[in-house]
């Protein structure tokens, strides 16, 4: 498993960006229109981290289009990666870690697909993957680092060691990762796509600059005035955003800092399905939660108002 040139080709990535309109105008659209920008074979990066601010509404809308041949990357891949595997959407997964968390043990789906060689997992250290996005965000083909040196991980993706031109020391040249598409979920944005995130930023700001196409869902659409009154809260500029969709609870049952807590009981329900039926359990879950609900409102109704309100209460408590 080695990186492909298109992942780190900074000239091609720059030319794609130069060829695009960088508009200060309207970005609001429907979620189906947004994900229609993803082509089979694209490299798609998901924002957030593990079960925090995962762009689940966008992932669901994307999977409803039954895409194939995707490469997907995320610093810590949660079960949305399992969805993509079982849905037959992915040829390669780029991450530093895959699972849900301690209480749920090893991911049986991750094991099944990778151990059988059906979907290769390209493994990078957490920082190295972060630096891959940052190098791309900076428009350079690599960034030097001391991480991963000496480990077996250096060879996994095919990264290279260089000699520092000043000190002569060895450094890992972490190759850039320019995704074709970024899927992100943020707290608020104005209709022009200027995005603000509360709490931990994860890697979203770098991913938005790294990707050729940026699709964003926001918990709240606020006025241009509100953004301009707090410009130091903005982390993604409107001209970098291709499509924006207003999706409250857009990462639920994953958490959104300060707005709602994650729903671990739902994770357990999901894992129970796998423990009982393996991949078929995921398929049943996809049918019920991903392919089934025609709208986001109907998706949320599967959880019920009480659960949503409770997650909201817990989420607000944890930051007050």
């Amino acid at each position: 498993m080695t990186i492909s040139r298109r992942e780190y080709d900074f000239q091609a990535a720059r030319h794609r960006l130069e060829g695009k309109a960088k508009s200060a105008g309207e970005k609001l659209t429907t979620i189906d229109d947004a994900v229609a920008r993803v082509k089979n074979g694209d490299h798609v990066t998901f924002g957030g981290c593990l079960f925090s601010r995962t762009p689940l509404a966008l992932v669901r809308a994307l999977l409803r289009r039954r895409p194939t041949g995707l490469s997907i990357s995320r610093n810590l891949m949660c079960y949305e990666g399992e969805w993509c595997m079982v849905a037959g959407a992915v040829d390669k997964i780029v991450t530093s870690w895959m699972g849900i968390g301690l209480p749920w043990g090893l991911s049986k789906i991750h094991r099944e697909y990778v151990e059988s060689g059906r979907v290769p997992m390209e493994e990078w250290s957490h920082l190295a993957l972060g630096l891959r996005f940052r190098a791309a965000a900076m428009g350079v083909p690599f960034l030097p680092s001391l991480t991963m040196m000496g480990s077996s991980l250096v060879d996994v993706g095919g990264s290279k060691i260089i000699d520092c031109p000043y000190t002569g020391e060895k450094l890992l040249a972490v190759p850039a990762l320019f995704p074709d598409v970024a899927l992100l979920h943020v707290h608020r944005a104005d209709r022009f796509g200027n995005c603000q995130i509360d709490g931990y930023p994860h890697m979203d700001a770098d991913i938005a600059r790294a990707a050729a196409t940026v699709l964003v869902t926001a918990e709240e659409i606020v006025s241009e005035e509100e953004i301009r009154l707090h410009p130091d809260r903005t982390v993604i500029p409107g001209f970098a955003v291709d499509a924006l969709v207003h999706v409250p609870y857009g990462s639920y049952p994953h958490e959104c800092y300060g707005l709602y807590d994650a729903d671990p009981d739902h994770f357990s329900e999901y894992v129970d399905g796998i423990n009982r039926h393996g991949a078929a359990g995921v398929q049943a879950y996809l049918d019920r939660y991903v392919y089934g609900p025609p709208t986001h409102v109907e998706y949320l109704s599967l959880f019920g108002e009480t659960a949503l309100a409770d997650a909201g209460r817990r989420g607000r408590e944890l930051v007050s």
Binding site: Q11, A13, R14, H15, L17, E18, A21, K22, S23, A24, G25, A136, A137, M138, G139, V140, D190, F192, N194, R209, I227, R228, P231, D232, T234, V235, P237, G238, F239, A240
Partner: protein, 258 residues
Amino acid sequence: MSGHAHGVTPNELLAVMGSRELKDNTTVFAGVGAPMLASGLAQRMHAPLLTMVIEGGIVGPKWKPGSLPISTNEMRAAYRAQMLPGITDAFLLAQRGFLDVGFIGGAQIDRYGNLNTSAIGGSYDKPKVRLPGTGGANDIISLCREVIILTVHEKRRFSDTVDFITSPGWLSGRDARRKSGLLFGGVGRVVTTMGVFGFDPESRQMRLEALHTGVSVDDVKTNTGFDVHVSDTLTTTKPPTDEELEILRMLDPARQFL
């Protein structure tokens, strides 16, 4: 020059001609003075969806007419901004390819659009005149998709050679810029108080493409320190309109920059 004949100041002329170079749905890296006024004018004339990025680490400000900044890093420059990413990250947006156009000027400019804002005469270490330095000019001309030079037209500025290349245009011409490692961008236009220059796509030498009303090719030659190549399709620019001038004077009523 006509500009003046019609009571148009040099900076008004530069701001108007500069604004006409800007397209809608693009981004512009703009400094203080004429570049800033050109951008603000374009937004009000034909490019409402143009976003300004300012060296101080400022994205999408809506400057307050009559309260224009005197530097690229102060509250007036950030007035009603959409984002304040910081200086390094603002330039990195340009390095990534998010900046379509950049405006810069310079104390010395040669036929290839190379600019000197560092040191004139003597040696670099002990120059006759030490200028302030590059600031972000080198970054803007190195990293934006296209750079437009805005400058008053004086013989001492349009010099046969520059003593120091602070901001690289096309260097020694042809593919020298690319060969130097500057894989992107380049100088597209030089807008002066006498006319508008482009560059020969082969030699990358400056070429007069348009004259402002009332300016002759001889006027330009007399005020240029190197041989002036003239385009076969030389045109004359449309003089600043009343609407354009009114907007500029609304933006800068005290004529701080006009």
